[in-house]
Structure formats: structure tokens, C-alpha cells
Amino acid sequence: MPALSPRVRSFVGVAILVAFYFFAGKAGLTLASVNPSATIFWPPTGIAIGCLLLLGIRLWPAVFLGAFLVNITTAGSIFTTLGIATGNTLEAVIAVTLINRYANGRNTLETPGNLFRFFILAGVVSTAVSAFIGVSSLSLIGFAKWSDFQEVFLTWWLGDMGGALLVAPLIISWFNRPRFNFHLRHISEIAVVFFLLLLTTFVIFGGFLPLSVSNYSVDFLAVPFFLWIAFRFNQREVATALFLFAEIAVWGTLQGFGPFAKGASVGDSLLLLQAYLNVRAATMLMLSSVVIMHRNTEELARKSEEQYKTLVEMSPDAIVVMDLQTNITMLNKQAVSLVGFENAEEVLGKTAFSFIAPEDHQRTRENLAKLATVRRLTGIEYTIVRKDGTRFIASTSASVLVDQRGNPQGIIVVVRDVTHEKELDRMKDEFISVASHELRTPMAAIKGYLSMILSGRYGQISGDLQKPLVTVALSTDRLIQLVNDILSISRIETKRLKLTLTLFPLASVVDDIGSNLVPILRGKHLGFHNGVEKNVRVQADPQKVGQILTNLVGNALKFTDTGGISIASTEENERIVVLITDTGVGISKENQEKLFRKFQQVSSQQAGRPAGTGLGLYISRELAKAMGGDVWLVSSEVGKGSTFAVSLPKEGTTLAASVRQILTSQIHTATFLETQHPS
């Protein structure tokens, strides 16, 4: 109704609800026996709960108005009518509030747990409120005797309960899931089962056959059809069947037919029938929700399996599932072709060991043992043997599959052929290596000849020529350093750094560097102090440590014009920390952040100083990290100087041992010399 404003729509809604409520109430009251206002079947309860749940509690005035109109035109006074209408309205409001809060609102019928809460909250609790207020109102004014309170209350309560359990689910299920399956098979089956159910219901309650006339207890005859509906269809069909069954049963019982028409009075018979119908409704709806839940779970599981199957088949990587004995139980097409087979059947049941090169078997067994505790291992490489005997290197990631209790059930492995990547890596490394050789040879010639020219070996150099030649020489040094640095970075980044870990005294390396720098120190009139403890020994590659310290001390020299450089050592967390302090120009805060990035140079301070490659600090830090240490800036102040630190694992510590273990087994190719470094 797009043309109608929300206010008009609400008004139309209220009017329809009032009318609906009124006529259903009138119909219900025709069954009143113990009191004109207390009936054994009160559909308006279900209408009110259903409508307020679907359309919103704000429609409660419609319930109040409907209830008022029904009762004012039935019996009693204004006061009793107001009381009853209040009770009926409260009933619906309480039921809907509680359902919204505790039973998943309009979807309350969909799971057994919520449905159970619906039965209790809407069927038992809220209806008791209405019955109490209604019967109290009647009794207070004298329309009912206090001595009959219990009987009238029970009738009222059961009547409302019938409305809540038979009518509310009907409304909720039809309006909550309005789409209907119009397939011929579906409709035919519904037609057949409803025809059979109605036929049976008439057999039980209709008075056509002796069975119902003689009041035999044959109500069980309907059970198979209810089960049929519950198992094959949804709650909408179950609620409809229950409602139709109830209508016929009430009608038949009123005529004196069927198993419940044996009571002392019609009221007693109807009371019995209502109790029966309420229990039947509750059990059938519950059964239906269990069936639906099971159906949904199956559908979810099917969907999830479908998704995973597609994922596995679409994956560019080989995926293999195996049991705990490494027998292959499932694998994708990529895995089959990876090992050179045509069909999965040829591979299924084989053990993973039949594809792993024999020299890797021991390592595989160790990794399997490790997997049992860590549950996941990634980036492990094995040599895999194909069906035709050819080999390739595969990178694998394995994860343990566990059941609900966390017990291992199998292993899932993702396998990727990395031969090509390895080859590319090797080629890149080789290219860089060859290129650096080829670059270095002519550079060595330039450097060599320049030094000979500058030394006067080919004759006296005029004053004008001296300066540019020195610049050429410095640029050549810088070019050589750049080639060296690029080669270092390539090694670091492709994890091909070769480390020779040794235990050695740091002070000796610092002394070597100091003595190499003597000419420059003298030239700039700078002091140099080696305060590193003589007995302190670290575990590292002395050549790399020399490279790091040369870089740091070289930087300090480059940026210091007065004062000097002092080197000290401390110990911190199993590491020896070497501090290089200068009295140079210092580094501004913004430049401090850029220091360790590749190709970063502190630009504002370059004027008049020998240029670097902008790679030194980056390389130093990476080299130190590769050996289990680090390089960082401790402090720096513009105009006062800077302090840099290098940390390295101290000899004999747990850290040193674990770094050694990691380095020799995994990342870079490292060897460890137990002997002392000869320095």
C-alpha cells in the first residue's frame, strides 16, 4: 500500500485487528458454558499475540478495543468489561514483551529452545494473568461466584492457552514466512495429507461412523498424519493442521461425538478436549521445530562441504588430507598431477612417505612428531619424488585436523612446487654476483690508477688537477661501496647471508678498526677511545661485526669535526651492547626516523662531507639482527653528537645457544666454529 501514509496504514491495521478480534471473540464465546464470559476456546488470545508480535506492541489499543467490544456486547457491566479488556490486553503485551526478550521475537517458533520458551511465556504465564484479572473482575462485581473461582479460572486459562498455542503459531508461521512452494508435487502431497487428516478427524469426531458416535478413544488415528506433515513440511502446515483438527474436534465434541464427549457436562468434555488439544499442539510444533532444525543443519553442513570442496578443487596449490598414519585419504587434482599421476584413485591410500625422498624421511618423522604438539607447521621444504622418479622441491604447510574434543583425526597439507622460485632466486643471486664482479674489476682499475696518479707515480700533479682527482677517487670509493652494499642487501634479503659464528673478544675488533682509522683521526685532529671491556666475548661473525662497527665508526668520523669518538660496552639481557658516541653534528628528530631505511641519507648535513650510499645503517641493522642482535640510535642532539648501539649475544648465554641453533638449522647458511677467533 505505497499510497497510504503510515498513520492511515496504522489506522487500517487497528481497524482490521479490532474487527478480527471481535468476530473471533464472538465465535469463541459461543462455547462458553461455566460463565458467559469464560469460554473453553478463546482464539483472540492467539490473534492478539500473533499480531502484536508481527506488527508491534504499539497496536495494543486495538486489542483493548476489540476485547472491550466483545465483552460489552456479551454480559457484565462496564467495570467487568474494562477489567476483562485490561486482562486480555495485558496478556498479549506481557506475552509479546517476554517473547521478544527471551524467545527470539517473531522467529520464536524456529528452534526447539525458543519454542519451549514460547509455550511457557505465551501459553502459560501470560494467559494466567488474563484469566486472573478477568475472573477477579467478574467475581468482584458478582457476575461469578467466588466459590466457582477455581473452575472459571481454569476454563478461562485453558481457553486462552488454546488461543496462544493453536492460533498464534498459525498467524506467526503464515505471516513470518509468506512464500509458498507452488510446485505441483508439493501441493499434491499437501492436498493428499490434509484430505486424509481431515477424513480421519471426521472419523474420530464427525459422528458419521459408530467410532465417533460411541465415543471410542481413537484420537490416535490422527497421529500418523500429523507426523507426516511435521516431517515433510514446515510449521505453517503443522499449525494449520492443528487448527483445523481443533475446530472439527470442538464442533464434534459439542455434538456429543468423539472420545471427549463423555464428560458429566459439555463444559467438562470441552475442558478435557482443550487440555488434549493444547498438549497435541505443543508436542507437534516442538517435533516440527526439531525436524526443521535438523533439516537446516543438514543443509548448512552440505553447503559448507560444497564450499570447501570447491575451494580445494579451485586452489592452485596441491591439497592433501591424510590420516595420522600419513595414509592419503583425500587430495585435489593439483596434488594428483603434482606427483605425476592421472587419477586420484592411484594415489589414495598410499602413504605420504612414498612421495618423500628417502633422505628426507627422518626429518619428516621428526616434523610429524613436532606437529602433534604445535598443531601447525608452515614453510617446511621436502624433496618430492614423482611417479616417474623425477624430483622437485616442495614447500609445505601442514595442520592437524581435530574432532570436537580436540583429538587429532588427520593432517591436512598444502603443497607447492617451489623449484621455479628456487631457480629464480638462484639466478637473481648469480646475476647480482656476476654483475658485481664485472663492475668491481674496472672500478678496481680506476681506483688503482687514481691512487697511483695522486701519489705522483706518473709525474707531478698541478694544483688545479689535485682537487678534481681527489673527488673522482672519493666517488670511486663510493661506487665500490654501493656495489658491495647492494650485494650485501641481496644476500640478506634472499636469506643467503653466510655467517661464520665464532666466540671472540669484541675489544680486539674495535682496536683493529681504530688502528685502520688512525690517518683520518689524525687528519681531523680527533680523539679515539676504546673503552670496551677486554674480557667480554660475544658469539657472532667477526667479519660481519667488523663491517657493522666500521660503518658506525665511519659515520661518526664523517660527521664529527671536533672532539672525538669513544666506544664503550655494557651488558643487557644476555647481550653485549657496544655504544659508539661522537661529538659530531647530531641528527634532528625527523631525520632520526629515516635513519635505518634503505637509501636514506641525512640530507641537510651532507654539505661538504663525503657522501655515503644510504645503505650502511640498514645493512648494519640487518646483519646484527641476523646474528641475534640489533643496531639502534640511543640518543642524538643537533650540535652535540650522537650515540649508536650494537648488541650481540654474549658468549655462553641461553640466547647465544638458541641463536646458534636457529641459524645453523634454518634461515641463513651459518657455520659455527668452536675454536677461538685468532685476533
Binding site: 664482479h437 674489476t441 674496472p442 672500478m443 688503482g448 690508477y449 665500490i480 653466510k498
Partner: protein, 130 residues
């Protein structure tokens, strides 16, 4: 005057080192590869061998290995003069053959090379220093 055998395949570098060494009073024999270097070493028995590693025909490592098999060759001081990076595996293998010293071409001037030769010849005129 001491004789130095310079085994170097790059002719520019070879001429450069030769210039410096002759200027410093050494007699210089040159060889462009390991094969010729080995022949000249054994036949002319220089006081010291200045040896490059990466070379055609026979590389420096093979030549040094062969040289160390010779009675005289076991004794002669050898300075490795290389363009290689200290990280390289081959250089580490060469070190096992006990050269007297090693220098990186890109980091050393011809003067450095000449000074190192004088130093080694002065400290041990007939035996390799390790």
C-alpha cells in the same frame, strides 16, 4: 731483487699492478691464467705469487692446489688478490689452502699490494706466513 709472479686475467689490472711493482723495484713475471701461472711458477720459482681467483682455463684455487703439491710450491708465499666478496664460498675454500694473505682488489690500491708484498717477504723470506 725479488721476483713476483702476477697471475691475473684482466690485462688492465695486470698492467697496473706490474707498473707499481716494477716502480717499487720488483721483477715481475705475468701470466693471464692459472695454467700458465702454474707452469711459470714451477719453472721460474718466483719469491712470491700474486694470485687472482676467478680466471679462465684454470682458476686460482685449482692452481694453488696444484702448486701446493710441488715441493718448492709448498713453501712459496702466495697473496690472494681477488674481486670476490668475502662471503663467497670459494674464497673460504681458498683460505683452507693457507695463502700468506688475501687482499680485495676493490679495497686496496696498488701501493697497498706492493707494501703487503714487501712486508711478507721481509718477515719470512722463504716460508709462507699463515
Amino acid at each position: 731483487m725479488a721476483t713476483v709472479l702476477l697471475v691475473e686475467d684482466d690485462l688492465t689490472l695486470s698492467k697496473m699492478y706490474r707498473d707499481q711493482l716494477e716502480h717499487d723495484g720488483f721483477e715481475v713475471i705475468t701470466a693471464p691464467d692459472g695454467q700458465e701461472g702454474l707452469t711459470k711458477a714451477i719453472s721460474q720459482k718466483p719469491s712470491l705469487v700474486l694470485l687472482d681467483i676467478a680466471m679462465p682455463k684454470m682458476d686460482g684455487m685449482t692452481m694453488l692446489t696444484e702448486l701446493r703439491k710441488d715441493a718448492w710450491g709448498q713453501q712459496v708465499p702466495v697473496i690472494i688478490l681477488t674481486i670476490m666478496d668475502p662471503n663467497e664460498k670459494m674464497l673460504q675454500q681458498v683460505m683452507a689452502l693457507k695463502p700468506a694473505y688475501y687482499l680485495f682488489k676493490a679495497n686496496s690500491t696498488p701501493q697497498d699490494v706492493s707494501d703487503k708484498i714487501k712486508e711478507i717477504l721481509a718477515s719470512s723470506p722463504s716460508k709462507p706466513v699463515s
